[in-house]
């Protein structure tokens, strides 16, 4: 019985709701010692001296290392611009580890780190894109000459098209720097013994880490084991190769003790790579009917102090997806990457696509504002028609697989009374002090299911497939091993759902194992909304092959032709003769007994490994609407409605799909209204604790109204597109469009994120 589309409760839950989950910090092998960092308090300084004698003298301290102690260990990241494991001669951002301490307990390690004194010689800092690109700016990496790492110019900047256009609109947008803030900060535990290295890490791609660590130390992969146990959220920020993993391994090798590192939140805020941090110059040309004629996008990506390969890819994805779900005859893109004296920037939920949906959805609203045509109507006039898929965009990366943008908008407008709300908005504007109403739309589109061959190799992955192994057990239950490495997505449940239908084995008799390179046959990992669309498809493929082989055994038992065997009830039957059947348990048992299977068959044949590939990306899309009320006295913004129509193709489990959307939307609302890592002009981070970085609580977020349209992707047999990042892509423009709409009668055309009550209050005061 197919469980695709069923609201199945999660297999993951029982351990996690009883305190029996196992996260990295919960694991403490005998002899474990604790590692802590001495972190730079300076944004850009020369290291003159490091005084570590007092720390070393503290009872219980085993080691204090500085860069001088690990000169043989190579840098991470881009060749020539690599990040040393410990700052070497120069620190380039506040928080950069300068020394590492190992002690018997976390309290002693913290004491010892406090005792290490670093003498700095300050240099001017460039903590923003503006300061890094200014004339005479301090240079972070002398090899660059300046602070631009890469600059992709326009092939044709469409100057003639814009000059000839009836109308144009332009925006300069700042996509605010965000911290991922998984509730579990980074943690790792390295145990390098005589038989090899085991590294437990809170990470999204265990094999990727295993391969990288083995190569880094020049040790064989077979004795290098990475385990990602329960992982307390990732959101893209746990796929980066940060120094702590490699230092913990090196220290464990040196000290012959398991070495554990558990980050505090304050450390996490400056060490875990940030996301977004992008500026965009966007221009569109349009005709008298608000039909888009041309789009020009120039992206400047803040890379932080050390460019990360994923960070370098962010503007590639943003510019590839810049046209959104609109048919625009001419699109010109250009981008550059800039280093600054800040925490490095890499993937954060959506990774380049929230930035794309934001720019196109903001400027479409500006076209609506300038032309006086309703924003829904402007979108409708420019949607790519449903009969034009596959749709080739300006980017070779983005050939849209399927979609129904107009249908999603139609569905969205059934979820609330748009006309009534517009009338109420108009009425309130004419009152003196009633709250202002804003209505914001977002017809968003993203690129998911990473991916097709070549899509991840550029980021250092072994491949872009995902592995799935199905092993039928002698009792007829099955274990699925996968290289997908979930951290909250519910993959253990959804993969079992997919397999149950294809295998004819009950959901309750299917286990899914992941997160251990010693047991999973290779793997890539969970990021880029790929687990279901690639790994889940692998489950389907492997299941089909298992059933093919099982039918041979069933046919032997039933003395029938394998071509006549069908899945039936709790096992197999001869087609058309359901009573002539054999249960799965008997087929499974006999599959291991050479005397009971066909003479040309091998025992143990019901064990299939698949390296699933997909031919193209998928393109989840949707239509969101956010409604807000704004207090004219305080500028306070209240979200009164969040209407969410998603199209992720086939839904495996609607409960889990809604959970993914809600979580992504929460992070999108947070980016729009609450969050933003900021640095002062000297490069000091202003919100490196949760006291001053506002990740929203239940009181800051609304209830959500869910809707759905369904255009299956042709790129896999499931039709599933991926849904992990949708909400974070779709929500920010809807929220910002709503606030701008609420204030549009005052002449407001744009406000940068996060839109605070103060920013709104300033607008209201100026209008008085």
């Amino acid at each position: 019985m197919s469980l695709i589309g069923a609201r199945v409760l999660r297999k993951e839950d029982p351990n996690l709701i009883t305190g029996r989950g196992q996260f990295v910090d919960d694991i403490t092998p005998a002899g474990t010692v604790v590692m802590a960092f001495v972190m730079s308090t300076e944004p850009h300084s020369r290291i003159v001296n490091i005084h570590s004698a007092d720390a070393l003298a503290l009872p219980g301290v085993l080691a204090v290392w500085t860069a001088a102690d690990i000169a043989e260990l190579s840098t991470l990241g881009l060749p020539g611009l690599g990040r040393p494991l410990l700052a070497t001669d120069v620190v380039r951002f506040v928080g950069e580890p300068v020394a590492v301490v190992v002690a018997e307990t976390k309290y002693i390690a913290a004491d010892a780190a406090q005792l290490v004194i670093v003498d700095y010689e300050s240099m001017p800092a460039a903590p923003s894109i503006t300061t890094a690109l200014a004339d005479g700016a301090p240079v972070l990496h002398s090899v660059l000459g300046g602070n631009t790492v890469f600059d992709q110019p326009f092939v044709d900047d469409l100057a003639a098209d814009f000059a000839a256009a009836p109308h144009t609109a332009s925006l300069h947008l700042v996509n605010n720097r965000c911290a991922a803030v998984p509730i579990e900060p980074n943690a790792c535990l390295a145990d390098w013994g005589p038989s090899g290295l085991t590294l437990w890490a809170t990470f999204q791609a265990p094999h990727h880490l295993r391969n990288t660590v083995a190569a880094y130390f020049g040790i064989p992969q077979d004795t290098t084991r990475v385990i990602t146990p329960d992982v307390g959220g990732g959101f893209g920020a746990k796929i980066n190769f940060v120094p702590e993993y490699f230092l913990a391994c090196a220290l464990s090798r040196k000290l012959a003790r398991p070495v554990k590192y558990t980050q505090t939140r304050s450390e996490c805020q400056v060490l875990m790579y940030h996301g977004r941090a992008q500026e965009q110059d966007v221009d569109v040309a349009y005709d008298d009917d608000a039909r888009l004629l041309a789009l020009r996008v120039r992206v400047t990506q803040d890379q932080g102090a050390y460019p990360d390969p994923t960070g370098m890819g962010l503007p590639v994805l943003t510019t590839a997806m810049a046209a959104g779900c609109y048919k625009i005859p001419k699109v010109a893109i250009s981008w550059r990457n800039v280093v600054t004296n800040t925490t490095p920037v890499a993937a954060y939920r959506g990774a380049g696509r929230p930035e794309a949906s934001y720019l196109i959805e903001r400027i479409v609203d500006l076209v609506a504002d300038q032309s006086g045509i309703d924003p829904v109507e402007v979108r409708r006039r420019n949607f790519i028609p449903t009969d034009e898929f596959p749709y080739a965009t300006h980017s070779p990366l983005a050939v849209y697989d399927s979609g129904n943008f107009a249908g999603a908008m139609t569905e969205l407008l059934t979820l609330f009374d748009y006309d009534a709300l517009k009338a109420e908005q108009a009425r309130r504007r004419n009152t003196r002090d009633e709250k202002l109403i804003g209505i914001g739309f977002s017809s968003w589109l993203e690129i998911a299911a990473f991916g097709p061959p070549g899509s991840l190799e550029g980021f250092g992955h072994l491949g872009s497939w995902e592995s799935v192994q199905i092993r039928v057990q002698p009792d007829g239950s099955a274990i699925i091993y996968t290289g997908a490495s979930p951290h909250g997505q519910g993959t253990v449940t959804t993969f079992a759902q997919i397999a149950a239908g294809e295998l004819g084995i009950p959901f309750d008799k299917i286990s899914v194992r992941h997160g251990d390179t010693a047991t999973v046959p290779q793997g890539i990992g969970t990021m880029g909304s790929r687990a279901t669309a690639v790994g889940g498809e692998g489950v389907r493929t492997a299941s089909v092959r298992v059933v093919e082989r099982a039918k041979v055994i069933a046919a032997h038992i039933l003395e029938a032709d394998p071509a006549d065997i069908v899945l039936e009830g709790d096992g197999f039957a001869v087609n058309g003769t359901p009573s002539h059947s054999v249960p799965w348990s008997e087929v499974a048992w006999k599959s291991f007994r050479p005397l009971e299977i066909p003479t040309d068959s091998e025992p143990g044949s019901l064990d299939i490994t698949v390296f699933q590939q997909v031919p193209n990306f998928s393109f989840p899309s949707g239509a969101y609407c956010c409604t807000v009320e704004i207090d004219r006295g305080t500028g306070e913004i209240e979200i009164t409605g969040m209407y969410l129509v998603d199209d992720c193709g086939t839904v495996i489990n609607p409960l889990l799909a809604e959970g993914q959307v809600h979580g992504g939307v929460a992070q999108g609302i947070a980016q729009a209204l609450y969050e933003g890592i900021s640095y002062d002009e000297n490069g000091l981070p202003q919100n490196s604790t949760l006291m001053d970085y506002l990740i929203p609580a239940a009181t800051e977020l609304p209830s959500y109204t869910d809707g759905r349209v369904n255009t299956p992707t042709p790129n896999n047999g499931l039709g599933a597109k991926g849904i992990g990042e949708s909400g974070s892509v779709g929500a920010p423009p809807a929220v910002v469009n709503a606030v701008v709409d609420a204030l549009s009668h005052l002449g407001v055309q744009h406000l940068d994120m996060p839109i605070t009550p103060l920013a709104v209050w300033n607008v209201l005061e100026e209008a008085k």
Binding site: M1, S2, L3, I4, G5, A6, R7, V8, L9, R10, D13, P14, L16, I17, T18, G19, R20, G21, Q22, F23, D26, K106, Y107, P182, I183, E184, D230, V231, G233, T262, T264, R265, S266, H487, G488, D508, T650, V651, P654, L655, L656, A657, E658, G659, H662, G663, A666, Q667, T689, L690, M691, I695, A697, A698, T699, L701, S703, R708, P712, L718
Partner: protein
């Protein structure tokens, strides 16, 4: 460093240890008693992942010294379900309503919800959201946590009505590949 003797009743069992006076209750629970279900998600008492019930009230165990808990009665996530019962009503509510994803905030969230229902057995959505403002979740967006608490309020014995046991009932095929 000198130590002091701490005796506390944890999940019904009297425990006595010598600990440094500076040791936080959460570290005593995790590192000394090895009750690792209680988590640490921040260092400023914002996230609530470390919430336990101390003498009937939800407290953030990262903000309490172990010595301050002397003589107290503590319930952690490991001690929440009645003996012989798999889940408490709140635990079952989180399972039924998908109130967790990664599960890291979940123990603290469940303890805070348990304390809430102890004080207010039938809270409104508004009351639930305000009661949970000291517990941060980064995965769910909170709506399903609110639903989980409502489920527990409506099923105070934690027993799942047979018809709503989705995993073993006939699945809906809504949304499937159509």
């Amino acid at each position: 460093m000198s130590t002091v003797s701490v005796s506390v009743t944890v999940n019904g069992e009297l425990r006595t240890h010598e600990v440094e006076p500076r040791v936080l209750l959460v570290h005593y629970l995790r590192d000394v008693l090895r009750l690792t279900g209680t988590h640490v998600g921040c260092d400023t008492s914002n996230c609530g992942a470390c919430t336990v019930i101390l003498d009937g009230a939800a407290v953030k165990s990262c903000t309490v010294l172990a010595v301050q808990a002397r003589g107290g009665e503590i319930t952690t996530i490991e001690g929440l379900a009645a003996p012989g019962e798999p889940f408490s009503a709140v635990q079952q509510g989180f399972h039924q309503e998908h109130g967790l994803q990664c599960g890291f905030c979940t123990p603290g969230m469940i303890m805070a919800c348990t304390a809430l229902l102890g004080e207010n057995p039938d809270p409104t959505e508004h009351e639930i959201r305000h009661a949970l403002e000291g517990n941060l979740c980064r995965c769910t967006g909170y709506q399903m946590i609110v639903n989980s608490v409502r489920w527990a309020a409506e099923h105070p014995d934690g027993i799942v009505p047979e018809s709503s046991d989705a995993a073993s009932s006939a699945p809906s095929t809504q949304g499937a590949g159509s």
